[in-house]
């Protein structure tokens, strides 16, 4: 069986290039220029999928991106590929491997089809009803069952190896859709010299011109004129033509997302090309030329393979040289189906009947059809089809004053249908433009634009080729004039043929069948029937938004482009309210499904986030350090030696720092240089601490609150001079703190003469901590007296190290040991580090990482903002009232500290915890309760914020925030865990050297 439905000649396929492909493993042949759908039809394959809910056999309904049934998976290599592609959009290439979906074990015999027999269980809203009882079944039975049954395609199992690209573009006029209206718009806009982007989702531009074989444009055959028009546009350097590119999202301020499918249609793609490309376009003006979509008729069994939209049948015949069946019946309420029947007839197809719902269709068309030997029945309705996996025959009924009587059966293996045309208003709706109901046409049309856009051609309700071309040309000229300010008359384009599509019908058709037994589908992809919509109304869903969600109509990937108007009409009849009063759901982005790759573009793996490394990073990596992520920074976490695990390495590092000396890379600390005559006054207002009297050369720990009185950051601040401060922030807080400072400086106190500069990456910071810290650095310091009398704890000097390297030398500690921080230029940091390291090694010291830093500071009860605090913690809560300048008139957050709830009893306060058994390590975040086994719903007293094994204390220690914690010293509390509660004692939060004597050695 090879392409038995292929016409002898005609179409835009290349008959000299046969293309082999497989469908469900079977080898088939098509031609270059085919889509998967047209190639399957050429081989008389209509059954291509199973439906979502009932697993009913489904065929190819359309020839475009609105296809609801023919969804296939295309495999590129084992484990990778794309599910749920519309066969009507998959271009055939040599070796294409496609599979049908939602069937087991095979497309022809599918066990899930039992759902079709059980369909009374699966009516609208069935999941709200069927799975309600017993309650315990939900987690164990119902949900796993629904999850396994839901969904159509199978997600790929292997990581996506393809590349996805991203591109930004600007243009004067973006035109979405390259049918006759879009091309006419592009020609007119380009004439003015506008920068134009013309995008079309298909493999060829031209839209209806590609199958309007009888029409002429500018006295040439339509395809000839199309070729010349596209050549003219392609030759214009200001015009960008984008094929296989869908305008899938219309966002604020004329920002439009285009998805370009670059290589999927190629048998052997260029490895340098991305698979897909996201275009982010900012257009001054947009012309939407999205065309219109033919509407299915809603009659019993309207979903059988072989039932197809009339214009789709015409497209397959004229553009692809494929007859959609051996014997074809046509059911219509619209004139355009006559053209389909006549074209298929001319191509050698056999038209069994044209059943026209209307009593008096256009006489000329009827005469033309009859002259061609086609039987035409008027006032004639399709009442069903026979055949399960393929239409066998069509049931006709005679319409007389609203009632239907049987009018015989017609043998046919294909039924083409047309309920008229629905203007494609998706993009207009996405742009937030309103829609207006046109009762004459039975259609919603684009109303007033909210953004700089206009719809042109049949998506704006314009009918007939000549009118569409004229409307497109006018829209293009108009858009170009508004974008560029240059006016130009629209291109005049003469056309004949491509008649207007007069006639339409909405909603479920009347029939003479047993209403209880037959089903007429409204939304094919989500398996929603006319009965479901009526049921939803009966069950109280009166808003279209509720009907949509209850029945899922219009929620499939076509977003209701095929189904909405029929569903709306059925709901309107059931509610006995006119259509416009029922309302319309909103069309949302994306227009058609978009791959995750297109949305992620290059932001994957190493490129997902920038990585920040300190100048010491390479040295630490060379020493075998383990790293942890702190905001975007990579920080050395610990330095294992000789097979140590983290626990052993950290214990050794902690002991070494307290016994001799440790070297720590603190370069990631945020740094801000605050300069100006009012610098001290500024800091006085920003921090809780007093700054006016801090002498040059002195350091002070600064605590920063937000205006609500909660701790937002902390850090040590050094005064370099009367008008110059070196501020440090937490590693993750630097941008936030600078923004906070800028905010107050610019908007509240613009009178202060202060300048703020981020210097985080201007200074690398080498922290040397421990009793031998001075010995380790002394040989390297050129011109600073390190004696405690000259440089006491919390003081600083500017000078040089290693023969002239500038250094801001801080004497400070975050470990409880005496220590120094050398701020040196990053370009010299590695050099200085290695020199210090040589001394540290001689003294028996070590390098330590962030984990040891955390343990050492916790042993001293120093808080970490974001660990002990969570944005609801005041200075007093963590025992830091001492950091508040008592004589200050005002600072950011000060007034809030007096608010009633911030001074109330029962606030959580920072305490230490020791476990009763002395060995259990508490879990950070664990809750703390009074009772070992508290009654259900007992509020916790607080939670563990930090927990480590402390080498100095010789046991695990923890910090915690506990209600009224400072009044609970010595109390026994409990930390309930899954294995049983851990008994803890509340102690002061300082575990090592509470007097601070070690700081001053």
């Amino acid at each position: 069986m090879t392409q038995i439905r292929r016409t002898r000649s005609g179409g835009r396929i290349d008959r000299s290039q046969p293309v082999r492909f497989t469908f469900d493993g079977r080898e088939l042949t098509g031609f270059a220029g085919d889509t998967l759908a047209s190639a399957l039809l050429a081989n008389d394959e209509h059954l291509v999928g199973r439906s979502f809910k009932y697993h009913r056999p489904r065929g190819i309904l359309t020839a475009g991106s609105e296809e609801p049934n023919a969804l296939v998976g295309v495999t590129r290599s084992p484990g990778s590929g794309t599910p749920n592609l519309r066969a009507t959009q998959v271009e055939l290439h040599e070796g294409l491997s496609a599979r049908s979906q939602n069937r087991f074990p095979s497309l022809g015999f599918d066990i899930g089809a039992v759902n079709d027999l059980l369909s009374p269980l699966f009516v609208a809203g069935f999941y709200y009803k069927t799975f309600m009882w017993p309650k315990s079944f939900w987690n164990r039975v119902y949900e796993p069952f629904i999850r396994a049954a839901a969904g159509l395609g199978v997600a790929p199992t292997a990581p996506d190896r393809d590349r996805y690209a991203n591109r930004y573009a600007h243009c004067d006029v973006l035109i979405a859709g390259a049918g006759p209206a879009g091309i006419a718009a592009a020609l007119s806009a380009a004439e003015v010299g506008a920068r134009v982007i013309l995008a079309d989702e298909q493999a060829e531009m031209g839209g209806a011109l590609l199958h309007e074989t009888g029409a002429t444009v500018e006295r040439q055959p339509a395809d000839r004129w199309l070729e010349a028009a596209l050549a003219e546009l392609a030759a214009n350097p200001r015009v960008t033509l984008l094929l296989r590119t869908t305008a899938f999202g219309y966002f604020n301020h004329n920002y439009i997302a285009l998805g370009e499918r670059v290589t999927d249609h190629l048998a052997v793609p260029d490895p340098d090309l991305p698979r897909e490309r996201l275009w982010q376009v900012r257009a001054r003006q947009v012309v939407i030329a999205a065309g219109s979509i033919e509407r299915p008729l809603v009659f019993p069994e309207n979903d059988r393979p072989g039932v197809m939209l009339a214009e789709a049948g015409r497209i397959y015949a004229n553009r692809y040289g494929v007859l959609p069946g051996r014997s074809i019946a046509v059911a219509t309420a619209c004139d355009t189906a006559y053209r389909a029947a006549l074209d298929i007839h001319a191509a050698g197809g056999s038209i069994a009947v044209i059943a026209d719902l209307r009593e008096r269709p256009d006489e000329a068309l009827v005469a033309e059809a009859r002259a061609a030997g086609i039987r035409v029945e008027t006032s004639c309705v399709v009442t069903g089809v026979l055949g399960r996996k393929r239409v066998r025959s069509v049931l006709l009924g005679r319409l007389r004053s609203g009632s239907v009587t049987a009018a015989g059966t017609v043998n046919a293996d294909c039924l083409l249908m047309s309920g008229g045309w629905t203007p494609n208003v998706s993009l207009h709706s996405q742009s937030r433009g309103k829609l207006v109901w046109d009762a004459e046409r039975g259609a919603y049309l684009p109303g007033a634009a909210v953004q700089a856009e206009r719809s042109a051609g049949s998506c704006a309700g314009v009918d007939g080729l000549a009118a569409v071309l004229a409307d497109g040309a006018h829209a293009g000229a108009e858009a170009a004039r508004e974008a560029t300010g240059t006016a130009h008359a629209p291109r005049q384009i003469v056309a004949e043929g491509g008649e207007a599509g007069i006639g339409w019908v909405l909603g479920a058709l009347p029939h003479d069948r047993d209403a209880a037994r037959v089903r007429a589908f409204v939304d094919y992809q989500n398996d929603v029937t006319a009965k479901d919509v009526k049921l939803a109304v009966r069950e109280g869903m009166h808003s279209i938004e509720h009907i949509k969600r209850y029945t899922t109509t219009g929620m499939a990937t076509d977003q209701g482009r095929l189904s909405n108007m029929n569903a709306l009409s059925i709901a309107s009849t059931a509610l006995n309210r006119p259509v416009p009063e029922v309302g319309l759901t909103t069309f949302r982005q994306p227009y058609t499904p978009v791959s995750f790759g297109t949305l992620a573009t290059t932001s994957r793996g190493d490129l997902f986030d920038p990585v920040r490394k300190t100048p010491i990073h390479g040295w630490a990596a060379g020493q075998g350090a383990a790293f942890e992520d702190v905001s975007l920074w990579k920080r050395a976490w610990y330095f294992p030696r000789g097979g140590e695990d983290m626990h052993r390495a950290v214990e050794r590092e902690c002991r070494t720092v307290r016994e001799s000396v440790g070297l720590f890379d603190a370069s990631t600390l945020g740094k801000i240089e605050v300069v100006g005559p009012d610098a001290a006054e500024f800091l006085n207002r920003i921090y809780t601490n007093p700054w006016l009297k801090l002498g040059p050369g002195r350091l002070r720990y600064g605590l920063m609150l937000n205006e609500a009185g909660f701790i937002m950051d902390d850090g040590v601040v050094g005064r370099l001079a009367e008008d110059r401060f070196h501020v440090t922030t937490t590693t993750g807080g630097a941008p936030r703190v600078l923004a906070h400072m800028e905010d107050y400086l610019q908007t509240e106190w613009p009178d202060l003469k202060v300048w703020l500069t981020s210097t985080t990456e201007q200074w690398a910071v080498i922290a040397v901590q421990g009793p031998k810290a001075r010995e380790a650095i002394a040989p390297l310091v050129d011109d600073i007296d390190l004696a405690t009398e000259a440089l006491p704890h919390m003081s600083m000097r500017e000078g040089h190290v290693m023969g002239g390297i500038p250094c801001r030398l801080f004497r400070m500690s975050f470990t409880g040991e005496a220590g120094y921080e050398l701020n040196v230029p990053p370009s010299r940091a590695r050099e200085v580090w290695e020199a210090v390291w040589a001394n540290v090694e001689k003294l028996g010291g070590c390098a330590y990482g962030t984990e040891t830093m955390h343990v050492l500071r916790a042993e001293k009860g120093y808080i970490i903002v974001g660990q002990e605090t969570d944005g609801t913690v005041t200075p007093d809560d963590v025992g830091m009232s001492w950091a508040i300048g008592k004589k200050k008139r005002d600072f950011v957050g000060m007034r809030s500290l007096a608010r009633p709830d911030l001074v109330a009893e029962g606030r959580k306060q920072l305490v230490g915890l020791l476990t009763r058994d002395g060995t259990a390590l508490l879990e950070e975040g664990a809750q703390i309760t009074r009772e070992a086994v508290p009654a259900l719903k007992t509020p916790a007293l607080g939670h563990v914020t930090s927990s480590y094994v402390s080498p100095a204390a010789g046991r695990p220690i923890a910090l915690a925030m506990i209600a009224d914690g400072r009044a609970r010293m010595g109390e026994t509390l409990h930390v309930p865990m899954p294995e049983g509660a851990i008994t803890v004692e509340v102690v002061p939060p300082v575990f090592v050297d509470p007097e601070g004597a070690r700081l001053n050695v």
């Binding site: 900012r282 205006e707 905010d743 008139r889 005002d890 809030s896 608010r899």
Partner: protein, 106 residues
């Protein structure tokens, strides 16, 4: 994504370059200590959240770094005006009924 005009740079740039800064014209009181708890809570937390024209702060954070004010219609997302910090709110009619604007200070 919005397009926003920075009144300092006098250029239109995508929203990505900017950071939103909440409602504009809510000046920090000169002497917070003299305010009652209610007045202070009002300053801290109460915002007008209008449907229609809203005066709001933006910062051209990935550009010049300056804070400025803008009038934006919260219904259409259109910017009606941008102006420098410290300049008065331009007189533009409110298109939809808005809650009373809470303005303190300048």
């Amino acid at each position: 994504m919005l397009l926003i005009q920075c009144p300092y740079c006098a250029v239109e740039r995508p929203e990505l370059e900017f950071r939103y800064g909440g409602e504009a014209h809510i000046a920090r009181p000169e002497s917070p200590s003299e305010l009652t708890d209610e007045q202070w809570a009002d300053f801290l937390y109460m915002r007008s959240n209008p449907k229609g024209v809203m005066a709001e702060r933006w910062r051209h954070v990935h550009g010049c770094g300056r804070f400025f004010n803008a009038l934006r219609d919260t219904v259409s997302d259109r910017f009606l005006a941008v102006y420098k910090a410290g300049e008065p709110r331009p007189a533009i009619e409110v298109s939809a009924p808005a809650a009373p604007n809470k303005e303190t200070g300048r």
